[in-house]
Symmetry: C2
Subunit: 377 residues, 2 copies
């Protein structure tokens, strides 16, 4: 089937409810390679998440595992237990692990085929497209279930080349970039979008990864699966599409990786394709080396800001902090220190009031504060 990435308006189940889904993230919930599951447990508009399979965390509440706040989603040891706990057969089985290789292990293949045999459709955000795999394609036909390969790009003829149409988008774009992958860019972008809408500013999120598309972002594309030639153009088309469809006051663009990253190119595509007026930089002060690359030290916020502002005609309007391995006092100290050192506002989107995040945006874009004031009257 074709990519569901731009089909989220039609994602409501025929029975009038959202599809119910089990998320598979064995031994990785709350970890970096479990970032798809972590995101879905925090926020899911598209699917109703009923449980997470992770034998390490079995018996715990998934929200508690990730953020220390229970949210009623149980962790189960395996599919048998997940089905028993649910008391019904859900619609979907979501692959919630995102290993660096993007490929399934033999054991994971067995687990997925088992879920299909019990009537669950598969939502797959890996680079490996299961509809192209003879064994999975056969299983889908035999068991009468669907496989959704979220990352599958459109056919070549439908992919967009960059054409400069972004120059006609008259509302500001703010990209949430970072100093590393799996550092909280999507979470900050989601919280910021919600907070802006909460105070009367029409903000639209454009997703750039498979997780935000699974979560229900109405606009976006999984950039890292797009052939390099079309990355900037595909994002440009998504931003232009969001602008024309929603007439927003501001567009928030989810970042990927880091512009300084030794491997990932998507930040280049995000800066070129969306041409943001402002950038918010997400950073984890306690992280020593970048994820999956122990030989590569983390960049400093100052060096990343210099790189971003040299690479694109934009400015970094604020810093947001990922508090992993930090005490609350350390987060406060980091906020104060970075504001002093960098001369821009800093906050932590998860543990500090969202007012601070909104104030960061209003300080850089006073026109949005005026929108908010008008809406409040």
């Amino acid at each position: 089937m074709s990519a569901p990435s731009i089909n989220n308006r039609a994602a409501v189940h025929p029975a009038g409810r959202r599809p119910r889904a089990i998320v598979y993230c064995d031994a990785n919930l709350g970890q970096i390679d479990g970032k798809t599951a972590n995101g879905l447990v925090r926020h899911s508009e598209r699917y109703e998440i009923i449980s997470v399979i992770d034998h390490v965390q079995a018996g715990r509440d998934a929200g508690d595992v990730i953020d220390g706040t229970p949210n009623g989603i149980p962790c189960c040891v395996d599919l048998d237990e997940a089905l028993a706990v649910a008391g019904f057969t859900p619609d979907l089985f979501i692959v919630g692990v995102a290993p660096t290789s993007g490929l399934l292990t033999t054991h994971e293949r067995t687990v997925l085929l088992d879920a299909m045999s019990r009537g669950l459709g598969i939502v797959n955000g890996l680079h490996e497209f299961l509809n192209d795999d003879p064994e999975f394609a056969a299983a889908a036909a035999i068991y009468g279930v669907e496989i959704m390969d979220i990352r599958r790009p459109k056919s070549k003829a439908d992919l967009h080349m960059f054409d400069g149409s972004i120059l006609g988008v008259t509302c500001p774009r703010i990209a949430v970039l970072g100093t590393d992958g799996a550092i909280g860019k999507r979470t900050t972008a989601t919280i910021l979008t919600r907070a802006l809408n909460g105070c009367g500013v029409r903000a639209v999120l454009v997703g750039t990864g498979q997780t935000s598309l699974m979560q229900g972002a109405l606009h976006g594309v999984a950039l890292d699966a797009v052939p390099a030639q079309f990355v900037a153009g595909e994002l440009e088309a998504a931003v232009v599409g969001a602008f024309e469809a929603e007439h927003p006051d501001v567009i928030i663009v989810e970042g990927q990786g880091a512009l300084s990253h030794p491997s990932y190119l998507s930040s280049t595509g995000i800066l070129r394709g969306s041409r943001p007026e402002g950038v918010i930089l997400q950073h984890a002060p306690a992280r020593r080396a970048i994820s999956d690359f122990p030989a590569f030290p983390m960049p400093t916020p100052a060096s990343e800001i210099h790189l971003i502002e040299t690479f694109a005609d934009t400015r970094v309007i604020g810093l947001t902090i990922n508090h992993e391995n930090m005490t609350d006092a350390e987060v406060s100290a980091a906020i104060a220190l970075y504001e002093l050192e960098l001369g821009i506002p800093a906050t932590d989107a998860l543990t500090r009031p969202t007012d601070r995040l909104v104030a960061m945006v209003f300080a850089a874009f006073p026109g949005l504060r005026a929108e908010s004031a008008t809406a409040a009257r």
Copy 2:
């Protein structure tokens, strides 16, 4: 069929000669969108180019059209004339136009199907894979000819993620980057590689585009067709493969687009994947706007050098000039002025002695001069 990109050692025809090919480049020979044909007319190790189809240049010599120097390759008005001039049916029909969209027009499809009906195989470097097109797949079966889709990436399972193995490559890498696409990076890289080998330095070219792979580069990958996630890793693997197979003194990496380019991401992948110690920057002083984007002015060499040296831990060791729309006196003036302004050597690889290009490399890498002196003894 699988990509022939890494199969150039086996490219010799069973009859012991190189495959003979007609290059199709109607109305575009010598133009920017004809860059694949221009490259093959200048240099082809893999195929013997017997003629070019371009009704605008019909009757002229292709070398004369491109560089003002006849090379015995005739331009023909159409396939009928090309076959009549040849007096035999060649092996292959090469798609030598490279439009921005990467897609064939209806007329071009008709021309290709006609060539297949006469027994010629197709070499296709476009983004559109003809083996996936039902009409072309059927024609290949009916006429018993092959279609080679040069840009087709490997299957997902065979694509490389960046893994840092480039850190084990002990010889220097020099990337030939540019201030725009279609500006002469491949030509300069090819001339430099040949010149270094000519003076006893074992230099290997790693190609990064479909044209250099068609020309016969033994190592490389068409980067812009690779999903963004794998671009740096695929180039890293090609460079590591070249290093291990050839034990060269230096590796020359063909650039793509420009790091400042509003659309193309490949330069990011080249700097990240090959981690070059040195960069040569190709620039066209008389070009006003970047190719295909009249709204975007050309960057200056100084701004591009600053961007490259901020983006990567490397240095620009010299500037090479594309003399389009310049007199010889203007080229000499540009060389003198840029050397003064930028403080690095400058030359034109096509019109100035290749000694200058070699001296530029020796000045930055004195160890290579020593290799050359040893070889001369």
